[in-house]
Symmetry: C2
Subunit: 449 residues, 2 copies
């Protein structure tokens, strides 16, 4: 019921370099600094050329194979607690995102501060392939500043939940609708793209939402936006709302998901299945609180759904560099469990997994690390290792034994690994000692030192 | 369309301590080590006693309000690249999870190594409230070892996808079914709970799956398991498969979701909506590759769905301690974007957000940090701050001015924040200088130094 990985490009051999770096904490082959890991070369072609019986069945609504990214590291990401981007850093990030292939780059409102306005103008002048957007409140003052900056489009937002109407801006739906119409007509008159979005859409009145979206669609907005501003929405709620909205408006549908309850990637996917066209992302998901749909996590989800589309459009091998650029700029570590680029995303440890991976990586990998310029690792220095992993390591060391001897040698390694964490060097020593003792005809049941 | 937070316990006041720690990188009030943050006390009761119009409508299938946790840090978590737990650490983690209130604790197979067996026996003897499970391959050798350890239940697993049948164990469905029946009957004869699970369920043949689950259900298995071993499943696929299975078996349904494509929390939620009863978790999600549904992330999702159930069952204020315990044991940092306990999960930065949060936190928070013993923060030292946040900070400092003066003072702060990252001390200095100049009758348009 799931797609497997697609065929490997022929030029790549099996595509899995031995000893290449794997994530920020990745180890090179046999390094002591990351004990117990080694990059592995697998016997068989892991991604054989054959039809995939598990390809999901799409329907007429789905944009899973035709989505666009609105990259908001320079807007939502600037609302991340640790973020301060000076002009130079903003330009560096914008260029990297453009090179990666995102469709739009969204910037902080030029009304936020004088430097925000100047930076917005500077990025508009770079001549990037990506369209440049800025994000403003639904207010003519902000709109007037925005259209002067040279942006390709303006993203307008206003809170529509009872919470925000009561405790934030204090306006009712009539005021919101009238202001929206004024702002939209003004921006359109400057031949600039315009999106109108509610804020906190999943706690807004459905009739209010559909009513205002229908209105702004009729006056010619380019996109409407659905925002889970507080991160409360569940995937099936997202599907239902977007599917309903898809029947109400004919314009594009942009979606924005916060990650407070851990569903931001899944919600983006379900939105696309229901007919949304654009997904807001940020690098590493940085944004207000614990952030939004991460660019890398979305790539992980979407490459599993349609590898051809994703590989044809985005430079996936640049993902790790972009994440490191932004992580350094906002002074955070790339999380150990980050999709794709986390240091252990492609590390296999248990004996059962290692054995299967050595036969064929598609057994326990839905993503081919080579697509992102990364390698897989087999961790063989632990008590849950198996003899197939040890045999593989022994062969890397040029040690050949019988299967029975590999099994005995593995038992020795597990015996030591039961007592303390062991390193690649420990394991290699045991393998070499075992073989030496065999050659010398010594008792091979001797305990490791 | 989303639940808001529930009423606050009366004894707690508004429940939001001023200056309490917020996550590992949390700052105390006004500390220079974490510039620009301060814990805030909000004016209004953020969680008023009123009916919630956004409560999702449950249906007869849903176990969102009646789920059980099988905590697998000591099994799946031991397969995490960095994990080595000695006996003492295992016992410490088991006790902490038991105290937290998880329903089951799952341990590494006693067949994995001699120490794994001894540790399993030791944990069974602790007399914990949680039931102790061990996880074994579908093989009589493993089953015989497992039933001798004193566990309350055995979790049996075998790969059923074509990938695993071909490249891992090499057995066909007839062999799998016959072995399953033998193992299940053997374990049941010892009056021990038994779960039978396929591995890589979402790449398995649906007819094979339903057929074997129907068979094992009839012979009296306690639970069947659905495992997304490679992390490929999407939320709607999960809902469909579990809902179908719910119509086929009458026993409990356990689910296990890997996080390779970032959907592990969302998939767990959709599984419960479709009638699953048990969710596998690990602390921080540690496991093979980048892991499974995290305990803390699941709590974040579920407290939004049914706060009473979650608060009544689990000691949420212990979550941070447990995460720190496990993070130290496996030598990783708690990710900056971790649900609930990430250092910025409850930090609000943009002017619009800060203003609304100061009025009522439910505007931009779907989770009450006090439920987890944590605090919210307002970050007011940046160029995207607003005058409401600065007014709030000024009032904390005992500085009273007119709204017009707060706005002018805010403009000065934004001017400096446009140039470089600023600290709480910078902001406080500007506020105090501004007031001093006002008192002295000086020109209050003077630039900050």
């Amino acid at each position: 019921m799931c797609p497997s990985c697609e065929p490997e490009p022929a030029a790549n051999g099996n595509g899995h370099a031995n000893g290449a770096s794997n994530g920020t904490n990745g180890s090179s082959n046999g390094s002591n600094s990351h004990p117990g890991f080694t990059a592995v070369q697998t016997k068989s072609n892991p991604h054989p050329h054959r039809a995939n019986p598990y390809q999901p069945v799409g329907d007429f609504l789905s944009n899973v194979s035709n989505f666009k990214i609105i990259e908001s590291t320079l807007r939502e990401g600037e609302q991340f607690a640790n973020a301060f981007f000076d002009t130079e850093k903003k330009i560096e990030i914008a260029k990297a995102l453009d090179d990666f292939g995102v469709d739009y780059i969204e910037l902080t409102s030029p009304a936020a501060s004088e430097q925000s306005r100047a930076d917005c103008e500077a990025i508009c002048k770079l001549g990037l392939k990506a369209k440049i957007l800025t994000h403003i409140r639904c207010h003519m003052d902000d709109a007037r500043i925005a259209v002067q900056t040279g942006v390709d489009g303006v993203d307008v937002v206003i809170g529509t939940s009872s919470y925000l109407m009561e405790h934030s801006h204090g306006k009712d739906m009539t005021y919101i609708t009238n202001t929206a119409i004024e702002v939209i007509n003004y921006v359109k008159s400057h031949n600039i793209e315009i999106r109108f979005s509610s804020e906190d859409s999943f706690r807004s009145n459905l009739v209010d939402l559909l009513s205002i979206y229908s209105t702004v669609d009729k006056i010619g907005v380019n996109r409407v936006g659905i925002a889970d501003t507080v991160g409360c929405a569940s995937p099936r709620q997202v599907y239902d709302l977007i599917r309903t909205l898809r029947g109400v408006v004919s314009c594009d549908i942009e979606t924005h998901f916060h990650n407070d309850t851990g569903c931001a990637i899944a919600n983006a996917y379900c939105a696309l299945e229901a007919g949304a066209t654009h997904i807001d992302t940020s690098v590493l998901g940085i944004g207000e609180r614990n952030g939004i749909t991460p660019l890398g996590g979305l790539m992980a989800r979407m490459i599993v759904a349609d590898r051809d589309y994703v590989m044809g459009k985005y430079k996936l091998h640049k993902l790790k560099d972009i994440e490191e650029l932004v992580a350094q700029a906002v002074e955070v570590n790339i999380p150990f469990n980050n999709p794709v680029t986390g240091f252990c995303s492609f590390t296999h440890k248990s004996g059962v997994h290692a054995k299967a991976i050595l036969n064929n990586p598609t057994t326990y990998e839905i993503i081919n690390p080579a697509d992102f310029g990364l390698s897989r690792y087999v961790h063989f220095a632990s008590r849950i290792t198996g003899w197939n992993a040890i045999k593989s390591r022994a062969n890397q060391l040029g040690v050949e034994m019988t299967d029975e001897q590999y099994k005995e040698c593995t038992a020795k390694i597990k015996l030591l690994a039961d007592i303390r964490p062991i390193t690649v060097d420990d394991t290699d020593s045991i393998i070499r000692d075992f073989q030496r003792n065999l050659k010398l005809g010594r008792d091979h049941t001797t305990r490791p030192e």
